[in-house]
């Protein structure tokens, strides 16, 4: 059966746990998306913008130095870092902005953690003449200053969030509160495959362009499917984007969560590896929470992974055993960051650096004929401040 079902469930996960005020807006969005999904012209516009505005298709790059270093296994990178605004987030933003036009709404609110989704939102809103307000945690604004400036340059208003933990979770809560208040003229441009139905489904569909291209490119270049695909998982949009078109294939799928200061420390953001099922921001899924059902603070060196929840489809893929989920800590991510920079001349974002590091560990156990794809979901310019500080070179 095709998932999610009509109520937005992937097995026992997903759904629509929202205040009544938002239900009509979600129904409207669902109708608009269903109509657009069946309309070839919508996808033509999506592809056209993806190509001419964002720079798709992104290359599938054979990382020969890295492969040699790993002992011969073939490592290829899906270069989402090369897309406009520097991360895969733009794919979803283009899709949703086209829908906003169809729904006739004039104002967009978005949340951002690392700033990548905020920048992508600001860019498409500038392109399409939409008013854009981005909510960002105070702590994230401090550690991703350049992205704040980028959003403002693109005409967006960045609103500082000072409630709760002052990171992505609270930015989402504030964006939802704004949406509840201005629901008549406002669309909520959610950035990951979380939230109430239809967001996890719709955003997966927009992001699955990554997996579709990867599939075509691998088949064309190597005449076969890959053996393993590795992607980092915060909310999980880049991972579901590359996994989805391979779900029915004999390909091993591995999602890498952020173990922060270590799983034992409790200071991490690995919901699937260290959480239990709960409800946050409109969806039922794995969640980092205390014994009383209060959502826990999270930590990751990568702001884009610093979220206590995860997309419901990932919870489902974990449950049925289709995807393996592992966790890499801050130190590992930094090592992955340096490794790719030094061996391939590519500075990755700290988020996919988790996946790079895991690939480097896994590669040692794989035979030489194996083909491994890593989704390089974003570039690392935004993270230089964090890395410089951590390496004591500031």
């Amino acid at each position: 059966m095709k998932l999610p079902d009509s109520k937005g469930y992937f097995g026992p996960y997903g759904g629509r746990f929202v205040p009544e005020t938002l239900v009509s807006a979600l129904e409207e969005l669902n109708r608009a998306y269903s109509k657009a999904k069946a309309d070839p012209q919508f996808w033509e516009e999506f592809d056209c913008l993806g190509r001419d505005f964002a720079g798709r298709p992104t290359p599938l790059y054979f990382a020969s130095n890295l492969s040699r270093k790993f002992g011969g296994v073939k490592v290829v990178l899906k270069r989402e870092d090369l897309v406009h605004t520097g991360a895969h987030k733009i794919n979803n933003c283009l899709g949703q902005a086209l829908l906003v036009k169809r729904m006739g709404k004039k104002r967009v609110v978005a949340e951002t953690g690392a700033g990548q989704h905020g920048v992508a939102s600001a860019a498409v809103c500038a392109l399409m003449g939409l008013e854009c307000v981005v909510y960002m945690g105070e702590e994230d604004m401090a550690r991703q200053r350049m992205n704040v400036f980028r959003m403002e340059l693109l005409g967006a208003k960045v609103r500082k969030v000072t409630s709760g933990s002052r990171t992505l979770k609270d930015a989402i809560s504030e964006a939802i509160r704004d949406w509840v208040t201005n629901v008549g003229n406002t669309h909520y441009l959610l950035g990951s495959v979380v939230g109430p139905h239809p967001y996890p489904m719709m955003i997966r569909d927009f992001q699955s362009i990554i997996g579709k291209e990867t599939r075509d490119q691998v088949l064309e270049k190597y005449g076969r499917l890959p053996d393993v695909i590795i992607a980092c998982v915060g909310g999980g949009s880049n991972a579901i984007g590359i996994f989805y078109p391979f779900l029915d294939d004999p390909v091993e799928l591995i999602g890498v969560e952020a173990a922060g200061r270590g799983m034992e420390s409790g200071e991490h953001a690995a919901s699937l590896s260290g959480g239990r099922v709960g409800v946050l921001h409109g969806t039922k899924s794995y969640l980092l929470q205390d014994s009383e059902g209060q959502v826990k603070g999270t930590h990751s060196i990568a702001p884009g992974l610093d979220y206590p929840g995860v997309g419901p489809e990932h919870s489902y893929l974990k449950k049925i055993g289709r995807t393996k989920y592992v966790a890499v800590d801050d130190e590992g991510a930094l090592e992955g960051f340096k490794l790719l920079s030094e061996t391939e001349g590519i500075i990755p974002a700290l988020e996919p650096s988790h996946a790079i590091y895991y690939a480097s560990k896994l590669a040692r156990d794989l035979s030489q004929d194996k083909l491994v794809v890593v989704n390089l979901s974003g570039r690392g310019d935004k993270d230089l401040d964090i890395v410089v500080q951590r390496m004591g070179k500031g």
Binding site: R16, P19, T21, V23, I176, V180, T181, Q289, E292
Partner: protein
């Protein structure tokens, strides 16, 4: 379960449990009953109250700092029950009671003579399990209706909500407002056509004149944020409650 009030417009008052302290919540609840409240709503604090404005967010945050758990809230309800016979309702986001265990929570509510539950992030489409449990344990499950709800949803919620229907006065989060929207009366009248159940309206109501305006069309009002702003000042809180009571009784 909660029955309708035959004789007067209802005054429903909200308190975040544990704000400013558990002991104070118990005292305030019994004072509220002597000052003329008709129903007490007890908020279980949550880390991410996304339907709430800054006042209730802060109260929740404070309460969580003193580790107010769902178990503590149940104990508070029991202590209040020993002092007043007013209907008691829990207002809770879904996750704390989901984590506690829905069957266990409903059973404990029954044991402590709590009358019902309101869950602001639970639309009826997701409510099947809780509906079954609340009816098994004799609790009212109150659903909310918003000005943005479609006609079909008004019918669905009018049918499913028990005790009363919680009408949200505006599109937005909770919090005291200087003015309420102009469409408020039309909204109440539209719902009125669909159901004989009591219609109590909340969100934004913070003055006797607003109370009067709302109660001209609705069967009662729900007040929360303004109460929390006054909990530290008993005299002002008392004056405020009495002024609301007077406004409602003047109709």
């Amino acid at each position: 379960m909660i029955g309708p009030l035959a004789h007067r417009k209802a005054l429903v008052v909200y308190l975040t449990v544990g704000y400013p302290s558990l002991q104070r919540t118990v005292e305030l609840a019994s004072l509220l009953s002597t000052w003329g409240s008709d129903i007490i709503e007890l908020g279980i604090p949550f880390s991410d109250p996304l339907a709430d404005g800054t006042t209730i967010q802060k109260a929740d945050e404070e309460a969580l700092k003193s580790r107010v758990t769902p178990s503590a809230c149940l104990e508070v309800a029991q202590a209040i029950r020993q002092r007043t016979s007013l209907p008691l309702l829990f207002m809770t986001y879904y996750n704390p009671i989901f984590s506690f265990g829905l069957p266990k929570f409903c059973q404990e509510c029954e044991g402590r003579k709590v009358n019902g539950i309101i869950v602001p992030d639970l639309p009826p489409e997701e409510g099947e399990e809780l509906e079954e449990l609340t009816s098994r344990y004799g609790l009212s499950l109150v659903y909310l209706l918003a000005p943005t709800s479609s006609e079909e949803r008004m019918e669905l919620i009018a049918r499913k909500s028990q005790g009363f229907i919680y009408l949200i006065s505006l599109t937005g989060v909770t919090g005291a407002r200087d003015s309420l929207p102009t469409y408020l009366e039309d909204f109440v009248l539209k719902v009125r056509k669909k159901t004989p159940k009591p219609l109590y309206m909340g969100f934004g109501i913070s003055s006797p004149s607003q109370a009067r305006r709302v109660a001209q069309v609705a069967d009662g009002i729900i007040v929360g944020s303004r109460i929390l702003e006054l909990v530290e000042d008993e005299q002002r809180l008392k004056d405020f409650i009495l002024s609301l009571r007077e406004a409602l009784d003047s109709l």
